[in-house]
Amino acid sequence: MTDLFLGLTQEIISGIALGSIYALIALGFTMIFKATEVVNFAQGELMMVGAYVNFFFVTTFLSAAGTPTAWTFLVALGGSMIFSVLFGYILDFIINRPLKDEPIFSVIMATLSLAIIIRAVVAIIAGPISLMPFSPFGDSAISFGTIIVSVLDLSIIGSAIGLVIIFYYIFHYTRWGIAMQATSEDPIAAQLMGIPIKRVYALVWIFSAVVATLSGILLAPRIALLDTTMGFLGLKAFPAAVLGGFGSIPGAIVGGVILGVIETVSMGTLSFHFQWIKEINDIIAWIVLIAVLMIKPDGLFGVEKVKKV
C-alpha cells in the first residue's frame, strides 16, 4: 500500500513538472488569444527559436569564459531575453499588423505558415545535426525520502507559477492589461477610447515571445537533444490551453498540469495495475478533454461569452 502511495506521489510530482512545461507553452497561446483572439500556431516554434538562441549564447560565452559558471547562464539568459523582445516585436510587425483588419482566420493561417517558415530557416542556419543543450543545474536532484525531484523540474514548476502570477497581475490590475482586454473585446471601440492598439498588439507579441523563449530555455535540457521538432510540443500544449479555458491565464496552468499528471500516472501506476490502460494511453488525455468540454464547453476557467444580437 505504501508502495502504491509513494509511486503515485512520485508520478504526480513528475506529472506536475511535465504539466508545467505544457502550461508555459499554453500561457503563450493564451496571451495572444486574450488580446487579439488569434490562436498562434507558431507558439511551439517561438519556443524552439528561443532554445536555439540561448544555446548559441551559452556556447559563445562558454568558449570565451572556458568553464561554465552561473554567470555564463545568466548572461546568456539576458541575451536571449533581449532577442525575444526584438523577435516578438518583429513578428507583430510582419504578421499581425498587415493583417490587422483581415478576418481572424487569415491571421491564424499566417501563424501556421510562420511555423513552417521558422522550422525551415532554423534548419538551414543550424544545420541538420541536433544540439546537446546544457542544463544550468546539471543532473542535481532533491530527494524527500524515496521521492525524487530534479532541480530542473523544480525550476520549471517555479517559473510556470511565477509567470502565471505576473501575467495575471498585468492583465487584471494594470492599465496596459485592461487596455489589452478592451482591445480583445472590441478593437474599434478601444481605439475610439484612446487606446493605442498598435502598441497593445506589439506588447502582446513581445510578452508571448518572452514566455516562449523562457520555456524553450527550460525545456531544452530536459529533452536531451535539441532539434527543430521541439516546436511540435506546441501541439501538445494546445489541448492544455483548451482544457483550462482558452484565454484564461490560471486556466493555462491548471489545464497543463492536469494533462501532465494524467499522462504520467496513466503510463505508470495505472497501466501497471490495469493492463488495458496501456492500450489507450495515447488517447486518454483527449478523452478527459472531451469529457470536460461536454460539462464545461468553455473549459475549466473559461468565461462564457454572450453576444447581444
Binding site: S130, D139, S150, D227
Partner: protein
C-alpha cells in the same frame, strides 16, 4: 533469291538489334543514376543528412578511380520527412521522371513498406534500405524479390539480447521499453519468440514517439523488479530512461536495440549511461577491420566535417560499398534484372565493413548477427564476438 536476301537482311538487323540493346533507365555511357529518399526536414533529418553523405564519400572515391565499368555514380536524394505518403510521391518522381536505375538506402521502416507497390510495378530494385526491420528481407511480401537488406532485423536483435542476458544471469527479470510503432512491434516479435523459447515473461512498457517523460515506465520497471532492461528507442529515450532510473537509485543493466548504438547516448547520459550495451550489425567505424580503416582514410582525404564522422556516416559508406559491388556484378551493360542477378551471386562477400554477406534467390537478408557495444568510461567498447 530476292526473298533469301531480304530474309538475311532482316535476320541481320534483328541480330544487330539484339547486341545493341536499348539502355536500362538511368544508365548512360558515362553515368549510373541512383535514387535515394531520405528524411531531410523531419524528425530524423540528422540521419537523412549523415547517412547519404557517407555513401557519397565512397561514390566519389569510386568515381575518382574511373567509376564502375567506366560509369560514374550519381545519387539523387529526395525528402520524405519520415512520412510514408511523401515517400511514395518522392519515389514515383525518382522512378518515373528522373528514371533512376535503382533505389538505394531509403530511410525508415514505414516509408520502405509504403513504396513496395512502386517497386513491384516498375521492377526497380531497392538496395540496403536504411532500417533494421526484419520485414525487409521477407521474400513473401510484395516486391520482396527486389529488396536486398543488409541489417540484422530488430526481431533478431531482441531475441539475441534476451539470450545474452539469460546467459549472463539465468535468474534475470527482463523488462522492455519500446516505441509504439513498426519499429517497436518488430522488436516485440523477437521478444515473443524468446519468451516462448526460455519460458519467461518480459515486462513490456511502451511510449509514443516524441515522448519526453519516462517516469511512469521507469517506476513500473522498478516495481516489477526488472534486473535487466532493453530499450527499443532512438537517442533521447534511452538517455531519459537511464537518467530517470539513476535519479530513483534504480540500477538495472540497460541494453538497447538498433539506433540506440548512437555514441551520443552514452555522452548525453553521462554516469547513468555507463555500462549501457547496444546491438550493432556492422564493424565499428573506429575498429581495426579493413572496412573502417579505409573509411577513416577517406574521411581524411575528402575532409569530412567532424560531427558527421561516426557510426551512421560509416553505415552510409558501408552500404555504398555493397551497392558498388552489386553494380560491378551487374555487368558492362547493366539492367535492373542483371543487378538483382548480380547481387544474388554474393557468397560470403566480405570487404571488412559488414560481417560476410550472402544473397541468393531464397535469401535477401544480409547480416543476421550482432555484436554488443558497451559504454565503458565514456568510450564505446565491443564486448562480444558476433552473436547469432
Amino acid at each position: 533469291m530476292k526473298r533469301v536476301v531480304g530474309t538475311l537482311i532482316i535476320i541481320g538487323l534483328l541480330a544487330v538489334g539484339c547486341v545493341k540493346r536499348a539502355p536500362a533507365p538511368g544508365v548512360t555511357d558515362t553515368e549510373v543514376l541512383i535514387g535515394n529518399v531520405q528524411d531531410l526536414s523531419g524528425p530524423l533529418k540528422e540521419l537523412g543528412a549523415i547517412i547519404p553523405s557517407g555513401s557519397n564519400m565512397y561514390f566519389q572515391y569510386i568515381n575518382d578511380q574511373g567509376g564502375v565499368h567506366g560509369r560514374s555514380i550519381k545519387m539523387l536524394i529526395e525528402d520524405h520527412q519520415y512520412n510514408p505518403q511523401k515517400a511514395v510521391a518522392a519515389t514515383k518522381k525518382l522512378v518515373e521522371k528522373d528514371q533512376v536505375f535503382c533505389l538505394f538506402q531509403i530511410l525508415g521502416t514505414s516509408p520502405c513498406e509504403a513504396i513496395r507497390p512502386i517497386l513491384s510495378e516498375t521492377g526497380t530494385p531497392l538496395i540496403a534500405p536504411a532500417t533494421n526491420s526484419g520485414t525487409m528481407s521477407d521474400l513473401s511480401r510484395e516486391a520482396g524479390d527486389l529488396i536486398f537488406h543488409t541489417d540484422t532485423g530488430y526481431d533478431r536483435q531482441g531475441e539475441i539480447l534476451v539470450d545474452y542476458i539469460l546467459n549472463q544471469n539465468s535468474d534475470a527479470k527482463i523488462g522492455i521499453v519500446y516505441q509504439d510503432d513498426d519499429y517497436g512491434e518488430n522488436v516485440l516479435v523477437g521478444i515473443a519468440r524468446a519468451e516462448e523459447e526460455h519460458e519467461i515473461t518480459v515486462q513490456k512498457e511502451s511510449y509514443q514517439r516524441g515522448a519526453i517523460d519516462f517516469k511512469g515506465q521507469t517506476m513500473n520497471l522498478l516495481k516489477g523488479g526488472c534486473t535487466d532492461v532493453i530499450i527499443a528507442g532512438i537517442v533521447r529515450e534511452p538517455v531519459t530512461v537511464m537518467k530517470t532510473a539513476e535519479a530513483m537509485n534504480y540500477k538495472p543493466n540497460f541494453f538497447g536495440t538498433g539506433p540506440t548504438v548512437d555514441a551520443r547516448v552514452g555522452k548525453l547520459a553521462g554516469s547513468a549511461g555507463e555500462g549501457f550495451t547496444a546491438t550493432y550489425w556492422a564493424n565499428m567505424w573506429n575498429s581495426d577491420a579493413p572496412g573502417p580503416i579505409l573509411y577513416r582514410e577517406l574521411c581524411e582525404k575528402y575532409d569530412i566535417p567532424e560531427p558527421y564522422i561516426g557510426l551512421y556516416h560509416y553505415y552510409g559508406f558501408a552500404t555504398a560499398q555493397l551497392l558498388v559491388e552489386g553494380l560491378e556484378r551487374a555487368g558492362r551493360n547493366p539492367t535492373r534484372k542483371s543487378l538483382v542477378r548480380g547481387l544474388e551471386t554474393f557468397k560470403n562477400w566480405d570487404v571488412g565493413s559488414f560481417p560476410p554477406i550472402t544473397y541468393n534467390r531464397n535469401d535477401h537478408a544480409g547480416v543476421d548477427k550482432v555484436q554488443l557495444v558497451q559504454m565503458q568510461n565514456g568510450e564505446q567498447v565491443v564486448i562480444t564476438d558476433w552473436l547469432e
